[in-house]
Amino acid sequence: MSTSELFTFRNRHFSLAVGITAAILIVTAIAGFLVLPFAQPWVQFANVWDAICSAAGVPQRAPKVTVPEQSTRLSEVVLTSSTLARPSQEGIGRGATLAQRCAICHGPTGVSRADSPNLAGQYAAVIYKQLLDFRSGARTNAVMSPFAVNLTDQEIADLSHYYAYLPRLPAYHPTPQLPKPSIVIYGAPMRGIAPCGSCHGSLDNKIGSPWLEGQSEAYMKAQLQAFASGERRNDISQQMRNIARAMTPQEIDQAASYYASQPPDVVKAVD
């Protein structure tokens, strides 16, 4: 009963077990690496080795095709959960000074009386990303873009910290509480729309998604329409375009007027 009796081809069980296992392995390998690749007439291989490599999943560089010149720029901003993690008092102070140029449109307290977006208490990552996008041209707006083009990285970070630091004041256009539209609280799972709050802050905040409560109705409606038509396309991985495209015009109206009527205190704070 020692292992020397077992691990030898003189032992019938050993030869049988090893033989059968090896045979199955070889047959399946031939089938998987040679027969099946060539059984797919729509895939072309340069030679047998090429076929084997493809079946083995060897990482291959895609052939050098010339990528057509993009007509519109896409967002190049990278956001991680540690983007702008630790604001400093000086940074916020510098931001406050810079923000004086913005006050005519975005309001001295960061809350706009016109239909420019409110910025007070917005997540820092959102301000940061939008300003970078305005600067690079990934997002364009005739009124806003000129104010972003000359900002430096440091100025953008300071402005983001400053606006995020401002208190969330109630907006100027609260209307009587509207019933919650189903598109906002449930989304539309069959159309791939998650509840808005699962990204926009009332349930959870996915980095880069602004909170919307109390934002101008006309502004939000315009943004949703711009996402739907593809006019605005700075959202990473089409997160928002995919949603807006699947929304009906009525749902866009409902969502915009609902969010405009909400006070900002339901929004999740940043840890």
């Binding site: 032992n11 999943g57 840890d271």
Partner: protein, 540 residues
């Protein structure tokens, strides 16, 4: 001879306590996402619950059952006091510590990553460390099973290892090796990120490593059940095992072919080559073999029992079976569920058909039927069979036991059949909310409602099970006699070395893992630029 009863009872009680909690969570999940529950406004709570339910049901509960049963087998089958009792308690306490450590971050919503970890999603580091402790605790058990068998062999040179112990040790080796995949994923990839030492992770490699664990862990869950089929049921119903060698062959086949097939869980993954997917699916087809052998052998063993009891005719013997014996009932229910579940499994394992049910509720329906149904009902049976020997008291109320088993069976069918069905209709799994008011999925509302009702039947059965065991601790004392395993028709006097030792089969298991996993893991590990930024649970 059961000496360390406290040790075994501690494992079983902890197993069933955590099972009870996780079962309640399961029923709640089923309810809250069904049309009869009202929309839970915070989906995060659902994922907390799901993480706890999956972690307990997948890792903690079956591991504890296998360990407790393994210690019992070692003492009863080898007729030898357990060697290394202190180590066994250390393993037990590691599992307690690991479970507590894992559950706290889950409850706080800091580790809602689900039991499959889902990298690049990264939760609190203590969740993963807790899981690692549970695995380490179970590895102590593996080592002890091996040591105890060795000690016995020294004392009985050349004698055939009792079937129960042979199978038990095979199961423990399978577990030791299959846990390595997830352990590598946790230790080398996830924990460094969760601890803040790194901020990117190769999610594709992590999935491949997890698949190393994911398939064979299923057979580890299955082992106690199969051991009960072969070594408890025939004795309990007054029959004999049809063939001892057939039983041994089934267990060694599990060792060899359960491992190199895990990539059937990555059919939809682009980072794995199609050739390897093919090899894995071909080997997957082989894994049906030991199960077919088992079904055949057990049916034959049951028929022997029936004929010994005077059963006649081609099928007439079925009536002669002891249907009022809980063990008989559990076996029959288990086989029915295994049959349906196995049929579903054939669909999962075929590359083409799998595409239509991938990540749908079909999958959850399938594994609840096989795992929660066919396997867990035999865990109940094992506990009922061992209890009088562990407590020294009798389980008197057989009717209550039968009711419990019936409820589990009926509940499982009511839960899982509609669950499969909505999966075919395309209902995705792991979703916290479904708007059944939408005309497109309104027709699924009724099926999901049935599943939820089935869930409550299962919960009732689970509670009853715990009540029966608890009452069993207070029943009048009665000597149950020595614990015995089933005898074979031809009880072996000598067994060929290959079928009496595990070495050859462990070697083949490792060799096939290397051939089937080596290349894919190496290329993924060595290629640059395959990592993605981690996404931290709860981060803004």
């Amino acid at each position: 001879m059961l000496v360390n009863r406290k040790l075994i009872l501690a494992h079983f009680w902890l197993a069933f306590a955590v099972f009870g909690i996780a079962l309640t969570l399961g029923a709640w999940q089923m309810f809250i996402r069904s049309p009869i529950g009202t929309w839970l406004s915070n989906p995060e709570l659902y994922y907390r619950s799901l993480t706890a339910h999956g972690t307990v049901m997948g890792y903690v509960f079956p591991t504890l059952v296998a360990m407790g049963f393994g210690y019992a087998i070692s003492e009863a089958a080898l007729q030898q006091r357990l060697v290394g009792v202190r180590w066994a308690w250390a393993g037990f306490w590691l599992i307690v510590a690991g479970s507590v450590m894992a559950v706290i971050p889950i409850a706080l919503g800091r580790a809602s990553v689900l039991y499959t970890f889902y990298p690049p999603l990264i939760g609190n580091v203590f969740y993963y460390l807790g899981v690692v402790l549970v695995v380490v605790g179970s590895w102590i058990w593996v080592a002890l099973m091996s040591v105890n068998l060795r000690v016995w062999r020294k004392a009985h040179p050349g004698a055939p290892v009792p079937l129960a112990m042979f199978a038990n040790v095979a199961g423990s080796y399978l577990w030791a090796w299959t846990a390595v995949g997830a352990a590598l994923e946790l230790l080398l990839q996830i924990i460094p990120v969760a601890a803040g030492l790194k901020s990117t992770i190769d999610a594709g490699l992590a999935r491949v490593l997890f698949s190393w664990t994911l398939h064979a862990i299923v057979y580890f869950w299955l082992m106690p059940t199969y051991i009960a089929y072969y070594t408890i049921v025939p004795r309990a119903i007054g029959g004999r095992v049809y063939s001892d060698s057939m039983a041994r062959i089934s267990f060694i086949l599990f060792l060899v072919v359960a491992m190199p097939i895990g990539m059937h869980h990555t059919f939809a993954d682009p980072q794995v080559g199609a050739g390897f997917k093919f090899i894995h699916s071909a080997f997957t087809a082989l894994v049906a073999l030991p199960t077919l052998l088992t079904v055949f052998t057990i049916c034959a063993s049951v028929e022997i029992a029936a004929r010994l009891r005077g059963g006649r005719g081609l099928f007439g013997w079925i009536r002669a079976l002891p249907w009022d014996n809980p063990m008989m009932l559990a076996l029959a229910f288990s086989f029915v569920m295994l049959g349906f579940g196995g049929a579903g499994g054939l669909i999962n394992m075929s590359y083409q058909l799998d595409a239509s049910i991938h990540n749908t509720q079909w999958i959850t329906g399938h594994f609840h039927l096989i795992f929660g149904g066919a396997i867990v009902i035999m865990y109940f049976a094992i506990a009922y069979d061992l209890w009088p020997h562990l407590t020294g008291r009798e389980l008197i109320d057989l009717r209550l036991i039968r009711t419990q088993l019936w409820l589990w069976f009926v509940g499982m069918i009511v839960t899982t059949f509609p669950w499969h069905w909505v999966g075919i209709l395309g209902m995705p799994r792991r979703m916290a909310y479904f708007d059944f008011g939408d005309p497109a999925i309104a027709p699924q509302a009724l099926s999901v409602t049935f599943s939820a009702i089935g869930g409550f039947i299962l919960l009732a059965s689970g509670i009853l099970f715990i009540v029966i065991l608890a009452r069993g601790m207070r029943a009048p004392r009665a000597d149950a006699g020595p614990y015995q395993f089933a005898l074979a028709v031809h009880q072996p006097t000598t067994v060929p070395v290959a079928l009496n030792t595990h070495g050859l089969w462990v070697a083949l298991m490792i060799a096939l893992t290397l051939t089937n996993y080596g290349y894919p893991i190496l290329t993924l590990a060595l290629s640059e630029g395959t990592s993605v930024p981690a996404v931290y649970v709860g981060a803004q």
